[in-house]
């Protein structure tokens, strides 16, 4: 069985400073998302148990210029090979675009029986990409998986729901998105990191996938309320006078009685 693990890299959120309400990402190193590490660990565990034969880490660079370097962590964690899709047209793709690219890449890969994702990315956590890819490739999908077992031509998962745990089985090929309870990802040792250097790593562009550059469907605008200075007005007098003065002030400011 061949497993493909889809891995997103994002700026290490713990290192991002906020200055004047803007996240400062310049110089912040990227790393593989937490849930993607869970997915990788699940894949490598399956291979180590003999249930899978090959694990490929697949990463859409999404503007990370060092994605081909950062993905080596996946190789050090035990993936057998890695593919990075890096293209200037993919600097800031939306979820639909990422899903389309992953679907095209999976089609190009020679074999994929099980497609693993994190349930959501560490930065945006839209939780869309796994389901979208499953739909594009017409695969059954199991979400919120807290266990992943593969046997013969089926994958079986326990799903964490609010008050129950479901056990779901799907025929392979299938897509599974995992939650953090699934395992404790390993921290690769130096030897693994050194060995990762010689594992196969390919970088593909959109042309290699033979698809057009996806057009983002919307722009994201900030939904933060505008910052305002406080007025520091103190009203004096009886409660009634204060209330009256307060209402007058609100009307003057255009807040009331428009």
């Amino acid at each position: 069985m061949d497993i493909v693990v889809c891995v997103k890299t994002n700026p290490d959120l713990e290192l991002v400073r906020v200055k004047d309400r803007v996240a400062q990402t310049e110089g912040v190193p990227y790393k593989i998302g937490d849930l993607e590490k869970n997915a990788l660990e699940a894949a490598v565990t399956l291979r180590e148990s003999g249930a899978a034969s090959n694990v490929t880490a697949l990463c859409v660079a999404e503007g990370n210029r060092k994605a081909a370097e950062d993905i080596k962590v996946a190789l050090a964690m035990g993936a057998d090979e890695a593919v990075v899709i890096d293209d200037p047209a993919l600097a800031e793709p939306d979820q639909a675009a990422v899903a389309a690219v992953i679907a095209a890449a999976v089609r190009k890969l020679s074999a994929c029986d099980l497609l693993l994702f994190g349930e959501g990315s560490s930065d945006n956590y839209t939780g869309q990409v796994g389901a979208r890819v499953a739909e594009l490739l017409d695969l059954p999908q199991i979400g919120y998986a807290r266990t992943v077992e593969a046997e013969g031509d089926v994958v079986r998962c326990e799903r964490s729901m609010d008050d129950v745990i479901e056990t779901v089985q799907a025929p392979l090929p299938a897509a599974v998105t995992v939650v953090s309870e699934v395992n404790e990802p390993r921290i690769p040792g130096l030897m693994q990191i050194m060995k990762a250097k010689s594992k196969p790593l390919q970088v593909w562009s959109l042309a290699d996938l033979d698809i057009e550059a996806p057009v983002p469907v919307r722009e994201i605008e900030s939904n933060l309320a505008e910052e305002q200075d406080r007025k520091h007005i103190v009203f004096e007098g009886t409660a009634a006078e204060q209330a009256e003065a307060f209402v007058d002030a609100l009307i003057r400011e255009g807040v009331l009685g428009r």
Binding site: D12, L15, R17, G27, P29, G189, L190, I193, M194
Partner: protein, 429 residues
């Protein structure tokens, strides 16, 4: 055991400088850095004297992400509420390439690590080395977690604490009397405000050192360096003095007290504290430099004790880069000759001895001893303040003449047996 040609322990300026030279020569190099990235665990006051190292890897320094070239040097002596500042702005500080820059290590070291990787070395972050492996007295590799990796040569650039090198018997355990605690806040201010407050042309920077009662009689002082859009404001205090102190003041409170002084408050007004950091600083001088090379290893940077505090010039990062450069040169020679023993690596120490690194440290040999004189941090800053204050004072009573005032001050505070003794002890610094 798996092995590589060279392992560099520590991805700071010394380690990266060595790795750059080795990788450039085509040697197989692996740098092990315990931080998230090079610079993540490093702390500087903030200034790198780049002049002495421009000749090493000259292609690098013009594109280095420095903060500001230092165009103004200020020294402030403070006591009893009187601050006396000497300010030097010289064209020579900037001519032919500035002699020094303020730096932020998180940026500078990360950039240098990228350059090292471009040369083909492997830089592994988040990797702590747990042990230097020895066999028959020779360093044969390292252990990190459960993995042992061999190397022809290990460059030990683990920093000031010498945890690995002292455990392996390569260097003495660091003692408090040879070290200071340096700690600082990085305070964000707009570039224009920084330039206004320190009278700087756009892009230029200032370095300001403070001596006197900010350390309450302890060896050390305060410092202020202007970055692009922040200032680094901190203190350096001798550890031995700090350790013996019993008055209940905690080290970190000195900086807060300093920030509250009426002379300092306007310098940082409106600023936003952005980071707080601390590190031990080697100040033992040349007497604390260990054996620099042995069978299978060289020692560089702070681990080698290559730094000094000469009151107005505080150096270490330039020595780190230089020692890394000479380490790489020596290792290249040793590898070519197929002899990575102490004898094969002996050119490392020879190069450092004939270069500015050990020569400047030799010149500064007596400074650490002189710095143990508490009058340097109490009497003199106060005396200078008293003298100038009296010259500038206009009171209700008829005033003595200018020369008389000055002469009184000199006679009171500078013409004493103690001062003569101090002058005698300082003749060799």
């Amino acid at each position: 055991m798996e092995s590589v040609e060279c392992i560099v322990v520590g991805g700071g300026l010394a380690g990266l400088s060595a790795a750059y030279g080795l990788a450039e020569a085509g040697l197989e190099v692996m740098v092990l850095e315990r931080g998230d990235y090079s610079g993540a665990k490093n702390v500087t006051g903030g200034r790198l004297y780049v002049k002495p190292i421009r000749g090493f890897y000259p292609e690098l320094w013009d594109e280095a992400p420095f903060e500001r070239p230092v165009a103004r040097e200020l020294v402030t002596m403070m006591a009893d509420g009187a601050h006396t500042t000497v300010e030097i702005a010289s064209d020579r500080f900037l001519e032919g390439g500035p002699q020094s820059y303020t730096v932020v290590r998180a940026k500078l070291d990360q950039w240098l690590a990228d350059k090292v990787m471009e040369k083909g070395a492997m830089v592994v972050p988040n990797m702590k080395v747990d042990e230097l492996l020895r066999k028959d007295g020779r360093v044969i590799g390292i252990r990190a977690g459960g993995d042992e990796i061999g190397a022809d040569v290990v460059v030990v650039a683990e920093g000031v604490l010498r945890l690995l090198s002292s455990a392996a018997g390569l260097a003495a355990q660091p003692q408090p009397r040879h070290h200071a605690l340096g700690y600082k806040e990085v305070i964000e201010l707009p570039a224009g405000v920084i330039e206004d407050r320190w009278h700087l042309n756009p892009g230029e920077g200032a370095a300001q050192l403070f001596m006197g009662d900010c350390t309450r009689g302890m060896m050390g002082g305060a410092f202020l360096y202007t970055n692009k859009e922040s200032i680094a404001l901190g203190m350096v205090v001798g550890m031995e003095d700090m350790r013996r102190r019993r008055d209940g003041t905690e080290s970190w409170q000195l900086l807060d007290a300093f920030k509250e002084l009426p002379q300092i408050r306007p310098l940082i007004a409106g600023g936003t504290a952005a980071e707080y950091s601390a590190h031990a600083v080697p100040e033992g001088g040349i007497t604390q430099v260990p054996r620099l090379a042995g069978d299978g290893y060289v020692v560089a940077g702070d681990t080698a004790g290559l730094s000094f505090n000469a009151l107005v010039t505080v150096r270490g990062m330039d020595f780190a880069v230089a020692s890394g450069y000479y380490a790489a040169e020596a290792i290249k020679k040793a590898k070519a000759a197929g002899d990575c023993s102490a004898a094969g690596l002996a050119s490392y120490e020879q190069s450092l001895r004939s270069s500015f690194v050990l020569r400047d440290l030799e010149t500064a040999r007596n400074i650490p001893g002189v710095m143990e004189n508490p009058r340097l941090f109490t009497h003199y800053p106060a005396a200078v303040g008293r003298l100038l204050e009296s010259v500038y004072t206009v009171g209700e009573q008829p005033q003595a003449g200018l020369v008389k005032k000055a002469w009184n001050g000199v006679r009171r505070d500078f013409l004493s047996l103690a001062t003569l003794r101090d002058a005698w002890s300082m003749r060799k610094i």
